[in-house]
């Protein structure tokens, strides 16, 4: 293994963290929605993709990237609210497969709508000027924008944690994840809570898409690939656990990054194999609750 130095490995690790940051943001929404609503949102990737395109659109109208950071999650979150209220809510109680199937079909529709509106080829997404270039982080030059992504992800996580732990709404969400029946008995409008959780989860996914866009451009298919990988994250971390999603997201990012160094063609397989192993040994993931799925 010629050319492998500590610097290179450290640089690769940082790259893994940046990759993981996107996974984390994406997977948190997925995990939240599953933990609260017991819905596996197959359209989550589509929301991610829509976030990138909404950002593109806003930029074309003359906005700036900072505006997008705020507007995109709000817009995508609102779309999520509408989807939950009118498409998913009718399916509660019909069996766990139905919301999954609906979101699966919905993703086809959303992707195609974006193709119609924006074309099939995808668009380049320029990194905002201030964030261009690389900084010396000690072990080498690392793109500034990726550091920014790590930072934003951390900020969002902090905000989310504060929201869940310190606000009464957050308390309701946590209680509802634990036992929706009791919460309902206590007079809380669980439907409204679920509505907002879906909206929040989708909004964060949209934000993740916006953040990912300068890294790879915006293409209609970008949601499909990350969805499959995010399933790995949520399963490894534990469905319904935010902390699990964070740790697993970073872990998956680092695993992909490090396997790329040694055996790039195995990078993608490695995470699915990881998922299969976790499922066999500890199906609830690192931090999930056992029996969540019976």
């Amino acid at each position: 293994m010629a050319g492998l130095s500590f610097d290179l490995i450290a640089l690769q690790l940082f790259t893994g963290l940046a990759l993981g940051a996107i996974y984390v943001l994406f997977a948190i929404g997925l995990s939240l929605i599953f933990g609260m609503l017991t819905v596996v949102n197959f359209a989550h990737g589509a929301f991610y993709m829509v976030g990138a395109y909404v950002g593109l659109f806003l930029l074309s109208l003359g906005g700036n990237f900072w505006l997008c950071l705020v507007a995109v999650p709000l817009i995508v979150g609102t779309i999520g609210l509408v989807v939950e209220r009118f498409l998913i809510r009718p399916l509660y109680g019909r069996g766990i497969d139905y919301p999954l199937l609906l979101t699966f079909g919905l993703s086809y529709v959303m992707v195609e709508l974006i193709r119609i509106a924006f074309g099939k080829s995808g668009y380049p997404f320029d990194t905002p000027e201030i964030l261009q270039g690389a900084v010396n982080i000690g072990v080498g030059y690392f793109p500034l924008y990726r550091l920014f992504v790590i930072g934003i992800a951390a900020a969002v996580l902090l905000g989310l944690w504060l929201f869940l732990e310190r606000t009464s709404f957050g308390l309701i969400i946590r209680a509802g994840a634990r036992d929706p029946q009791i919460v309902r008995v206590l007079g809380v409008n669980v439907s409204r809570v679920w509505l907002f959780v879906f909206g929040i989860g989708s909004g964060i996914a949209g934000l993740a898409g916006l953040l990912a866009a300068p890294l790879q451009g915006a293409i209609p298919e970008m949601g499909a690939t990350i969805l499959a990988e995010a399933f790995v994250v949520t399963v490894v971390g534990g469905m319904g656990s935010i902390g699990g999603a964070v740790i697993a997201g970073l872990l998956v990012g680092v695993v992909v990054s490090m396997t790329s160094l040694f055996a790039p063609e195995m990078a993608k397989v490695s995470i699915f194999a990881l998922m299969a192993i976790v499922l066999l040994i500890r199906p609830q993931g690192f931090f999930g609750r056992a029996g969540l799925m019976s």
């Binding site: 610097d7 790259t15 940046a18 080829s121 995808g122 380049p124 320029d126 990726r146 890294l215 790039p264």
Partner: protein
């Protein structure tokens, strides 16, 4: 519970009417009975291309250019008055779908020829179906394998460049100019490997040292995990061998990582549509190859004629590289038929083999052993500021003239002489 007790033999009139009307609708619908298919007298050219999917733009350009070829043929009197017709089908960039479409074109439409398609796997799929049924197929997209004995048949023609030729041409230009230490970033599939092989073959003559060949899976969206390793080796040249979206993203991220400051980035092929999609910044300073660029009309009369015809038929647009292949692919077969004076397959094959033509980019002919079109390769560089309108995105900095020696040898391809 008693139900209506009509006897089992009598069927209510209402039901009869509904069934009859359903039948009438069925007969009038696209589901017409195939037995009554009439034989047409036009020359049918099947054209499966990926209208949906990431290369839709290129595919649509291929259709436009093919239409030019058909129009020219028909205006020139056709084949003893018989006109040609283009049957476009969407293969969705999927070999299975392409095979189904090819079956439809052959079995139902009874096409005389097939021209297409974009993507190596799709070409090979179409070719497998056509060769089994003795239909001439002219492939208009890059592939090394289609010329190999395993896939080849006398019905197979290949108008497009091969990865080996393209990569070799770019290598022969770049290696003497920019240095001997070369790093490769390669898409890990047949096309990528073929490109690298072409570069390395060409590099032998210049004493090129291959520092590393980093493989990435198709559809990689994040090269950040691969680029630092390359940077650490300090190459003179970075050869990025991938295609389409992969290439756009790779170039973009290499730019982000500041790699252009310390090395020259070279790609075997640069797509006109890709350049438009990815923007000037990513392609800045990158050198690559192509089969055609509209800008050569300044120097080449056939290019000007083709471009002008294309502009006239399609609202002032100019043809792209892949589009032009659609034109040449169709035209070559039709001209072959005209020269043979018939649609008999073996006669047309012989006529096309004997063709010496200059339809749009200079002199070309098909090599006998593998029906590969021997043609020039243009070396191009991206222009950061277009001067002659939006389409002015490349500079042609060199042209490698047609030369059979630059192709893989017939023996290497498995053809017995």
């Amino acid at each position: 519970m008693a139900k209506k007790t009509t006897g089992s033999n009598s069927i209510s009139r209402r039901r009869l009417l509904t069934t009859a009307s359903a039948g009438a609708v069925l007969a009038a619908s696209p589901f017409r009975i195939n037995l009554l298919q009439a034989q047409e007298s036009t020359i049918k050219v099947g054209f499966p291309v990926p209208l949906t999917g990431p290369y839709g733009t290129e595919a649509q350009d291929q259709v436009r250019a093919a239409e030019v070829a058909i129009a020219e043929f028909n205006e020139g009197g056709g084949l003893n008055g018989r006109k040609a017709e283009l049957l476009v089908r969407d293969d969705k960039l999927n070999p299975g779908e392409a095979a189904t479409r090819t079956l439809e074109l052959i079995e139902k439409e009874k096409v005389n020829f097939i021209v297409g398609s974009l993507s190596a796997s799709v070409q090979l799929a179409v070719n497998n179906v056509t060769k089994e049924r003795g239909i001439i197929y002219n492939s208009i997209s890059q592939s090394d394998e289609i010329n190999e004995a395993k896939d080849f048949s006398k019905y197979t023609f290949h108008e497009a460049l091969t990865p080996h030729l393209t990569a070799g041409a770019v290598g022969r230009y770049a290696f003497p100019k920019f240095g001997k230490k070369v790093a490769f970033l390669t898409a890990d599939y047949a096309y990528g490997h073929e490109m690298v092989r072409g570069f390395q073959e060409a590099g032998k003559a210049f004493g090129v040292e291959s520092l590393i060949d980093v493989r990435h899976p198709l559809g990689t969206t994040d090269f950040s995990t691969l680029l630092p390793r390359i940077q650490a080796l300090k190459p003179d040249i970075l050869v990025i061998s991938n295609f389409g979206r992969d290439q756009q993203i790779a170039l973009k991220q290499a730019t982000d990582f500041g790699m252009k400051k310390s090395m020259k980035i070279v790609a075997p092929i640069l797509l006109y549509t890709g350049r438009l999609a990815a923007g000037a910044q990513a392609f800045e300073g990158v050198i690559g190859g192509t089969s055609y660029y509209w800008g050569i009309e300044d120097k080449l009369a056939s290019a000007k004629a083709f471009n002008d015809r294309f502009r006239k038929m399609h609202g002032g647009k100019v043809p792209s590289d892949y589009g032009a292949l659609g034109y040449a692919g169709v035209k070559a077969l039709l001209m072959g038929a005209k020269a043979a004076g018939s649609l008999d397959t073996d006669k047309v094959i012989a006529a096309v083999e004997a063709l010496k033509y200059d339809y749009y980019k200079g002199p070309e002919y098909y090599r006998k052993c593998d029906h590969q079109a021997v043609q020039s390769v243009l070396i191009i560089e991206s222009k950061s500021t277009p001067q002659k309108g939006d389409a002015d995105v490349f500079n042609v900095i060199a042209t490698e003239e047609p030369n059979e020696k630059n192709l893989r040898t017939c023996e290497a391809l498995g053809h017995k002489s």
